[in-house]
């Protein structure tokens, strides 16, 4: 081993210790929220956990190249959204609405209270960009500017996408009533 490579390796190790601690701290603080965000996007917990793990591994690998460590959450949130899109594309597994069984009136009455299932099922029928906009705005509570940054689109696009998504969601829920 050459002295040069020794130096590079030890430098990596030093950086690795810092990155380990820093990335783990970010993970401990935000993994739950990000996993929930990916879960709402994907409808599958296992895939959501994988996407979040990959995003944090990406953050860890890129740690030394990131100039603004204070914005690590923003970086990893974008990675989670990218990962969710890739997961949907690569598996061609568009989240399906929960099927409603044909049931007699008594059971139908019991199931009628499951508004949440209907809303989530309707959300998962939206195109992924519209779903993203709604999840970021109404679950993650991001302002429009930050939503635009996370989605990698303009402020105007966020406004129009959100508006179209809400209109589509309203129509779907109306149809189910």
């Amino acid at each position: 081993m050459t002295p040069g490579s020794d130096g590079a390796d030890s430098g990596a190790e030093d950086g690795g210790v810092d990155a380990d601690q820093a990335v783990t701290a970010v993970y401990q603080e935000h993994a739950l929220g990000l996993t929930r965000l990916a879960f709402l996007m994907l409808g599958d917990r296992q895939t959501a956990e994988d996407v979040v793990q990959e995003a944090f591994c990406g953050l860890y690998r890129a740690w030394d190249r990131i100039s603004d460590h204070a914005n690590a959450l923003g970086y990893v949130r974008i990675s989670v959204l990218n990962g969710s899109r890739s997961a949907l594309r690569s598996t061609r597994r568009v989240p399906r609405p929960l099927a409603v069984p044909a049931v007699a009136s008594a059971e139908a009455t019991m199931l009628a209270t499951e508004e949440r299932r209907e809303t989530v099922a309707a959300l998962r029928r939206l195109p992924s960009r519209q779903r993203e906009a709604l999840v970021l705005r109404y679950y993650a509570d991001l302002p429009e500017q930050e939503t635009a940054l996370a989605m990698g689109v303009s402020l105007g696009t966020v406004k129009s996408t959100t508006s179209r998504a809400l209109a589509a969601l309203g129509r779907m829920l109306q149809e189910e009533l």
Binding site: A8, G11, A12, E13, G15, G16, A19, V23, T24, Y27, A31, L32, T35, R36, L37, F39, L40, G43, D44, R45, Q46, A48, E49, D50, Q53, E54, F56, C57, Y60, R61, A62, W63, D64, R65, G83, S86, A87, S90, T91, P95, L98, A99, V103, E107, M110, L111, E114, E115, R116, T119, V120, L123, L134, V135, Y138, Y139, L166, L169, G170, L173
Partner: protein, 445 residues
């Protein structure tokens, strides 16, 4: 904020809470560490024509896209748990019985019909409700006596039974108690492929024996229990790959041994929790405190009565659910029994120490008004537990029929799965899980 926006915000929040705090797996960082800036910026002198470089770059980008797609789509490893089974996340699949008719006939203008509780079984993915498999009994069988799933989420075992037409004029089907039960096994591979095959057992069993079943957490062993209450009580553990069987017996007077699916095995596949049901000659189940036998299946011996007997103080019912770590038993606690004229009945789900049988805490309370229910029917049923029992999936935790969901501490989060709720409702309406056939045919994870 419009009403739709309010509703969306509230329901996204509620849906996201299906992923509970403390259930997120630990971060697994890559071993090679972060890539330092100096390495990334190191340039290699160009030695190839520009078009080859461009082609190579395109190929590299394509390779990275495929690699990322593979990395994102592949199933990630779950945190290790004793026995190699993860208890940290929600179970991937659930199975439930579907009612159906086996007989319909018109006699002198009157239509007679008869159905069975478990005409067939459906297995769905918990995440999206997608049907993974529909399992029907092979002819001449027309119903299931019982079924059970392994904690690994990959293996299900079914016992098919037969109903025959009653020719004595009752115009209904009756359980065939002589034809041997037909066992089948369904395996779901990690890639999602299903393989259903016959499962020959070393010993013939019939519906008259009312066997209860429990697959070991890794799906490699099947426990079967039957007999007792005037007959010899028998517990068998069969290694599915080799059909090798170990058997423990207890001569009369012994209780009927009862296995409750996922709630029967500890995560290491060693200890089997066996409920004790005392059935009087009249067929009435004797009321009394819950007693559980803890059978160490790795220890030598064949005497069932020599296994540890735990009496759960204040508990009612004939069985309880052992947590996968083997430290606690969870079952019905106390309650005001139904009596003629009484319009309110109450009870609770208790968590007990395996070591002492003492009540550690009350997990959930329930109260019913207007309709008495026998306490021995165990209104609250545990369907799944994480390793320590801090997170459960419970049926009817508060006495409301058809309610199924997570119970974490005293917080209940309903599972938005209409099929599970429906199956639980049907189970509750039909004597709390034990049908006339004697087998548990509600639903199982």
């Amino acid at each position: 904020m419009t009403p739709l926006e309010d509703r969306l915000r509230a329901e996204l929040e509620a849906e996201s809470e299906l992923i509970e705090p403390g259930s997120i797996p630990a971060l697994r960082l890559p071993a090679q560490g972060p890539r330092p800036l100096s390495r990334l910026r190191r340039r290699v002198p160009r030695r190839w024509p520009a078009w080859i470089t461009a082609l190579a770059a395109a190929a590299a980008v394509t390779a990275v896209i495929f690699a990322i797609a593979y990395a994102v789509s592949r199933p990630g490893p779950k945190p290790p748990a004793p026995g190699g089974v993860s208890y940290s996340g929600i179970p991937s699949y659930y199975a439930y019985a579907v009612q159906g008719s086996t007989f319909s006939r018109t006699v002198h203008g009157t239509q007679y019909g008869d159905g069975v509780i478990a005409r067939y079984v459906k297995i769905r993915a918990t995440a999206n409700g997608k049907v993974v498999a529909t399992v029907s009994p092979p002819a001449p069988y027309n119903a299931f006596e019982s079924f059970t799933g392994a904690a690994s989420d990959r293996t299900f075992v079914f016992a098919a039974q037969r109903y025959t037409y009653d020719k004595t004029g009752n115009e209904r089907y009756k359980q065939d108690q002589k034809t041997p039960l037909k066992f089948m096994i369904l395996r779901i591979t990690p890639s999602g492929r299903r393989r259903l095959s016959a499962l020959p057992l070393p010993e013939t069993l019939t519906a008259a024996q009312n066997p209860t079943l429990a697959l070991s957490p890794d799906g490699t062993k099947l426990a079967v229990a039957y007999g007792g209450s005037g007959k010899t009580a028998v517990v068998q553990v069969i290694t599915l790959a080799t059909s090798q069987m170990r058997q423990w017996v207890s001569p009369p007077p012994a209780a009927t041994p009862v296995l409750t699916g996922l709630g029967a095995w500890t995560s290491d596949g060693r200890v089997l929790a066996v409920g004790q049901m005392f059935i009087e000659p009249s067929g009435v189940i004797r009321s009394g405190p819950t007693q559980m036998r803890l059978l160490d299946t790795a220890a030598p011996g064949t005497n069932l009565a020599a296994s540890k007997l735990v009496t759960l103080r204040g508990a009612r019912g004939f069985s309880s659910f052992i947590t996968p770590d083997g430290t606690k038993l969870i079952g019905g606690y106390g309650g005001i029994p139904a009596r003629p004229g009484r319009t309110t009945e109450s009870g609770a789900l208790g968590v007990y120490s395996v070591r002492t049988g003492a009540l550690l805490r009350v997990a959930a309370r329930w109260q019913l008004h207007g309709r008495g229910v026998l306490p021995s029917k165990a209104r609250q049923m545990v369907a799944w537990s994480n390793l320590s029992g801090s997170r459960l999936i419970v049926e009817t935790p508060h006495g409301r029929l058809g309610e199924v969901g997570f119970l974490t501490g005293d917080k209940f989060t309903p599972l938005p799965l209409p099929h599970v709720a429906l199956a639980a409702l049907l189970t509750a309406m039909n004597s709390g899980g034990f049908q006339t056939s004697g087998g548990y045919v509600g639903f199982a994870w």
